[in-house]
């Protein structure tokens, strides 16, 4: 297992390298003066000269790449044109929103998608199966941006002034302010220190923060704001997981050892949950990992529609204001998150299935 882990981690290094090459190439592919393209149209000759020196634009391409790479590894992703602040700071502020949204979407997808798939396979051709599969087909066909707006229409327009009404945008209602956990528990950290930045990053996960500080009103308000975007974002992964689980389960249910298990006189429950499910869920784990791509991409659309100030909304705002450093920095960070996540999925897969390790 250790050997497999090392090999798999080593394999991820060229991928990280490739991500940096692509993002580097993207910056050079913008037509026109690279300084104007990266610093914005309003860049002065002075700042352009400094930029050229700093990034070695007058040096050969490979040297430029080395400069670029060393900057990225030092956490320097450049400054946003629009905000005039480091991209990394903006990420630190905005990532929690996206993490909370993405995790709740993934949770909904897994908690509903996988059991629905199991049930469809076990009760094949029943009305449950038919309904689930029709639902899954519609689910993968609904554009995230349309579903989001549709949910707003239903819960904030049609059901307005009913107990089922839900807020159409934002993370919290006006007037609701979460108290960061480090203030509640008097955890000392110097202003501007890394520790405070880290605490602050954690505290910006409002649901997490309100849970550990037992702040129920904020928890309730934050959850109410999160539910619609999370549903919109979860639909496609949920549908894919349901279909994948169903077909994987059907395949396993047709194998000989299932007949053996039944012939031994085991109850149907044991046969399905102890014998079939373990093997059927293996491919589902990989698919679930890949769904993170759908969630990270869909976050741009969901956050734009629901006005959630996360990474996705920043990408949208950067598109409209032609803020290249934001796009570049966010693509790097999100691609790295994606690679790391898939690495973890692969490793967990090897834990679950010994055959992978021996390969």
């Amino acid at each position: 297992m250790i050997q497999y882990t090392i090999r798999r981690v080593l394999l991820a290094i060229p991928v990280v390298f490739a991500i940096l090459i692509v993002t580097f190439a993207l910056a050079r592919a913008i037509p026109g003066d690279p300084c104007k393209a990266i610093l914005g149209e309003k860049a002065t000759a002075e700042s352009c000269e400094r930029f050229t020196r700093e990034f070695g634009l007058d040096k050969p391409v490979y040297e430029q790449f080395i400069i670029y790479m060393s900057k990225v590894f030092q956490g320097d992703l450049g400054d946003s044109i629009r905000f005039g602040r480091p991209v990394l700071t903006i990420l630190q502020e905005r990532l929690p929103t996206t993490i909370e949204l993405g995790m709740s979407a993934m949770l909904i997808a897994v908690v509903i998608g996988i059991p629905a798939g199991i049930l469809s396979a076990v009760r094949r051709n029943s009305w449950i199966d038919v309904t689930t599969m029709i639902g899954a087909n519609i689910g993968v066909s609904l554009p995230v941006f349309f579903l989001g707006l549709l949910l707003i229409y239903i819960f904030a327009v049609v059901l307005k002034d009913t107990p089922l009404s839900l807020p159409p945008s934002g993370r919290l209602s006006p007037g609701v302010t979460p108290i960061p956990f480090y203030e509640v528990y008097n955890l000392s950290a110097e202003a501007g220190s890394w520790r405070l930045l880290f605490y602050d990053f954690l505290a910006k996960h409002y649901i997490f923060n309100s849970l550990i500080t037992f702040d129920w009103p904020v928890l309730w308000d934050a959850s109410k704001h999160l539910i619609l975007p999370a549903i919109a974002l979860s639909t496609i992964p949920m549908s894919i997981l349901a279909r994948m689980t169903r077909s994987s389960m059907l395949e396993v249910l047709g194998l000989d050892y299932m007949r053996t298990a039944r012939a031994k006189g085991l109850t149907e429950r044991t046969v399905i949950f102890r014998h079939a499910l373990r093997n059927a869920l293996l491919p589902v784990v990989t698919v679930a990992g890949l769904q993170l791509a759908a969630i990270l991409g869909g976050a741009v659309l969901t956050e734009t529609i629901f006005g959630l100030a996360g990474v996705g909304l920043s990408v949208y705002e950067a598109i409209t204001s032609r803020d290249f450093p934001i796009i570049q920095g966010f693509v790097i960070v999100i691609a790295l998150i994606y690679v790391t996540f898939n690495l973890l999925v692969d490793l967990s897969y090897a834990v679950l299935d010994p055959r992978i390790r021996l390969d």
């Binding site: 991500i19 037509p31 554009p143 941006f145 707006l149 741009v300 659309l301």
Partner: protein
Amino acid sequence: MANVVELPKDRIAQEESQSLWRITIRRLMRQRSALFGLSILSVLVIVALFAPVIAPYDPTEVLIGKEDVKKRSAPCIHLLGCPEDQPQHIMGTDGNVRDVFSRIVFGARISLQIGLIVVVIASTSGIVLGSIAGYAGGWVDNLIMRLMDIVLAFPFFLLAIALVFVLGPSLNNAMLAIAVISMPTYARVVRSTVLSIREMDYVEASRALGASDWDILFKRILPNAMPPLIVLATLGIATAILDTAALSFLGLGAQEPMAEWGTMLGRERNQIFSAPHLVLIPGIMISITVLAFNLLGDGLRDALDPRLVHNQ
């Protein structure tokens, strides 16, 4: 004597190769969901072909000053009790006082074209790269497939956004970006087929008979990759329409005044509270179109599955 034996064998072979496709079609016709998808598509294709006849207005015509109609007015259908003295707009008008129904009708044309063009570009380049990689092997294979891996290392939609951002927002660039990003899937399927078929005895036999590499690749090996490619391409059209519409929604794809469904929805998304028809109608159209291709693709997958053909 030899001729007598040969002829029937030849005919049997011919009949079998025909009936494989016939079985596929017969199996497809037996699936209600695939038929449903196919019928939606037929309607959409007819609408797209006869768009100028069906649409009462030009899709980009601004009606202000020409008719007594306000911007973002709700649907008005005379048969359903809308006063006769008001001009009929069965799907209402949009923020620039254009007839939404005409825009939706012409939008069918644009969406179907988007789907087809993206898939043609993605699949042809994927097939070419996959064949070269699988057939040549060695460092060529390594180079091509590692490039494909790089594309797959990014979250799909985010890379598309970055590409279009750099290339400049336009429908063509959006389509190109989606095509580039969906290419690796085709390349992988073709490569694995080529690899598994390349060493088979009948390919060896063709080579011994003096067939060129070109002939072996295109006549002996690639036909084996057709069934999965057909399925991939059909589902690929669905994804292409969905993702291009999403890019247009963000302002990166089709630009005003083009009657593209994603752009129409994106432009009017804030009207969900005041004029919901401007959001709901294009959204439903995109969903239905994508659903139709998904249903057809799934049906084709089941119909083309060789494991099931033998059970017939």
